[in-house]
């Protein structure tokens, strides 16, 4: 079953313009696990009749991993091309499910000529629920479950978004349990700063294993996060402890889509 989603080019051709652009990101487009998050978010957007579009094949990496790896040239090549495209479509507002895209689009593109209102998908979903466009079904999916939230660095410390994802978890019929290191003290999953794309430097432990220990100590049934890279790292961490039967790693969008029977 294919999913209903329109591209900017398609909309422009028929003289329409969307209220918001969904920036899917490379992980959301190509990574098998992250694609599920993308689809969960699209289901929510469609269900709430949000007038949105994606860039489709015109989208390209924001340049975040290049910038964090120290290659400002590659970053700015990407940024300037993306900005030309976004400005060409007269994009005003962007939502993304990737905190790295979120941070780059929101904070680093304005200085290069691309100024947009950029929100993280947890903020959009929170808004949809608060304005009554999305109601969660009383389907008991999460009844009696414990959920812990792993703060993505580029959402939390980098941009001070701590509450939106937590408010959403609290709307589920589940208990939010915090790890000993959370919010401003949250420990990185180990993927940031382009580490996702390289082997870790020599040490005595993997960072995602350290972080997964924090999560397992809460005895949560679900580790929730809001970043495709954190998702990968935490999933690997859970596998490391052979806990994949007992503990699921899920994105907030997936939790909400499940709770809304989508």
């Amino acid at each position: 079953m294919s999913i209903q989603v329109r591209t900017m080019a398609d909309m422009m051709a028929s003289g329409e313009s969307p209220d918001i652009l969904f920036w899917v990101g490379c992980a959301g487009s190509f990574d098998d696990r992250a694609k599920k998050i993308t689809k969960a978010l699209v289901k929510i957007l469609n269900h709430c009749k949000v007038n949105f579009a994606v860039l489709g094949t015109e989208e390209s990496c924001t340049g975040d991993p290049a910038k964090r790896a120290g290659n400002e040239f590659t970053f700015q090549m990407q940024a300037l091309m993306n900005i030309e495209l976004l400005n060409g479509y007269e994009v005003k507002k962007i939502v993304t499910a990737c905190p790295h895209c979120f941070n780059t689009l929101k904070n680093e593109y304005p200085g290069l000529g691309g100024t947009y209102e950029v929100i993280h998908h947890t903020q959009l979903i929170q808004d949809l629920i608060n304005t009554g466009k999305l109601t969660l079904a009383d389907n008991g999916t999460f009844k009696g479950k414990k959920i812990t939230f792993h703060d993505p660095c580029y959402l939390g410390r980098a941009n001070d978004v701590y509450e939106a994802p937590r408010e959403l978890i609290e709307k589920l019929d589940a208990a939010l349990v915090e790890m000993k290191r959370c919010k401003t003290n949250g420990l990185c999953c180990g993927a940031g700063g382009a580490q996702m794309f390289k082997e870790a430097e020599k040490g005595n432990k993997e960072i995602n294993v350290e972080r997964t220990e924090d999560a397992l100590q809460t005895s949560a049934n679900i580790i929730a996060t809001g970043c495709p890279f954190c998702n990968t790292m935490m999933t690997d961490g859970v596998k490391h402890f052979e806990k994949e039967e007992d503990v699921k790693v899920m994105d907030i969008a997936e939790l909400i889509a499940n709770a809304a029977d989508l």
């Binding site: 294919s2 120290g70 700015q76 660095c153 003290n185 940031g192 082997e199």
Partner: protein, 434 residues
């Protein structure tokens, strides 16, 4: 005669201190320009909260309270120093006592109470370092001089406070022989315990030892600061004022790169045209301290090596070589070394060393996840991450020293617009997959 000695001592102490402050200012000015003149109200607020109010210290309440005792007693004692200066220069004894009366008694009592708390705090700090062996205060980058520096400062403080009570205690007993009392909160009972029964002459000598010892320690302390991590007591204020106010995730866009990339992307650009700006950078990224901004260098002078950054660093916690505190210590050591070298051998002289290579290794830089935990933790808003990123930029853009896997990632972005090897045409496939 005593007044003359005091005058000379005071003048030379302040003179030498000013001489060293000038060196510090020169060293900071080796850094590249950076505009932090905006949002003045936010800057004052940040300084008041973070430096004066010590807001970020209180995420760890026990050291915060101990530190508060030392900090408050240090700040309040400065009031007494005014009297010491007046007494020292004029030969008076407790110049303000008669005029201020009860308020004077209250002020000195307040200082005495804080001094006792500071004494307790200092002993606790020494114990944490040397007996409890707190991990973050016993890491390998502190071996040798940094550990001695830390202990020396604490011992200075103990001596300083001991002199205050020698002075006030002896004075109290002297007063009691004449049937009077200064009525200060601590010395009125501590004095008799220590010195009761001593002869008037001995007490006079003790009071003088206390007075001179105190002021000599104050001047020693002041002139030791420029060589010590303890300089943070001054630098915390300008350093927090000039904090980065943008979101922590926002890294600088390099203007020099923007100019070149725009030329590359513009089909009408004349590649042989003269560069638009005459201030072309000598290099991309940072190899040495003078490639960093002045704020990076001010950060280095503000670091008191508490190690909160390192204890929160995911790389360090999992045994990697990176320690954000070491990055700051290295930056300061190299800055002082280069500053001294240039003052001696001229501004254009090269000593063949650099921050990257001679002090910081590539392995440290590549361990960073850019998670901002170090920036978040720092009680005086130091930003080790921006130094790490600028050194990385130099490695990658000037030396092409990129870990192999990252070369692949970068090539993919350049060729197919994603860090993995997927064709752009496959970007929408997710919409049609089950």
């Amino acid at each position: 005669m005593q007044q003359l000695i005091f005058g000379v001592l005071t003048l030379s102490s302040f003179g030498f201190f000013a001489f060293n402050l000038r060196k510090i200012a020169q060293n900071i000015h080796m850094g590249l320009p950076l505009d932090r003149s905006d949002r003045k109200a936010d800057r004052w607020r940040t300084m008041l909260l973070v430096a004066l109010g010590q807001k970020k210290m209180f995420t760890r309440p026990i050291p915060a309270l101990l530190h508060l005792a030392l900090y408050a007693s240090f700040v309040i004692t400065q009031i007494e120093l005014i009297e010491i200066l007046v007494d020292g220069l004029s030969g008076s004894h407790r110049f303000f006592q008669d005029g201020l009366g009860g308020f004077y008694t209250f002020m000195i009592s307040f200082i005495e109470v804080l001094s006792v708390l500071a004494f307790i705090g200092t002993v606790a700090f020494l114990a944490r370092r040397n007996m409890l062996k707190l991990p973050r205060l016993n890491m390998k980058e502190l071996a040798g001089w940094p550990a001695q520096d830390a202990n020396l400062i604490l011992v200075f403080e103990l001596i300083l406070i001991s002199f205050i009570f020698t002075m006030n205690g002896a004075d109290e007993v002297l007063q009691s022989y004449a049937g009077n009392s200064n009525g200060f909160a601590m010395s009125s009972w501590l004095g008799p315990i220590l010195f009761e029964g001593k002869s008037t002459h001995t007490l006079h000598v003790l009071e003088q030892i206390g007075w001179w010892g105190h002021i000599i320690m104050v001047y020693t302390f002041m002139n030791y600061l420029p060589y010590s991590k303890h300089l943070h007591i001054f630098m915390a204020f300008p350093n927090t004022y000039f904090s980065k106010l943008e979101p922590k995730g926002q890294f600088t866009n390099m203007q020099s790169v923007t100019n070149e990339v725009k030329l590359m992307l513009d089909p009408n650009a004349d590649p042989y045209a003269a560069p638009a700006t005459d201030a072309a950078p000598s290099r991309f990224g940072a190899k040495d301290v003078n490639d960093l901004t002045w704020k990076n260098l001010m950060d280095a002078y503000s670091c008191t090596e508490c190690g909160r950054c390192t204890s929160a660093c995911p790389a360090n916690t999992t045994g990697k070589l990176l320690s954000p505190r070491k990055i700051m210590m290295d930056t300061r050591d190299r800055m002082v070394e280069l500053g001294d070298f240039k003052r001696k051998n001229g501004q254009d002289a090269e000593d063949g060393k650099s921050l990257l290579g001679s002090y910081i290794t590539e392995e440290e830089l590549w361990a960073c996840t850019s998670c901002n935990a170090c920036v978040q933790e720092c009680p005086v808003n130091i930003d080790p991450l921006s130094i790490i990123m600028d050194l990385r930029r130099f490695l990658v853009m000037e030396e092409s020293k990129v870990p192999t896997e990252l070369t692949g990632m970068l090539t993919n972005i350049e060729n197919n617009g994603a860090p993995w090897q997927f064709a752009p045409t496959e970007r929408m496939n997710w919409a049609n997959e089950e």
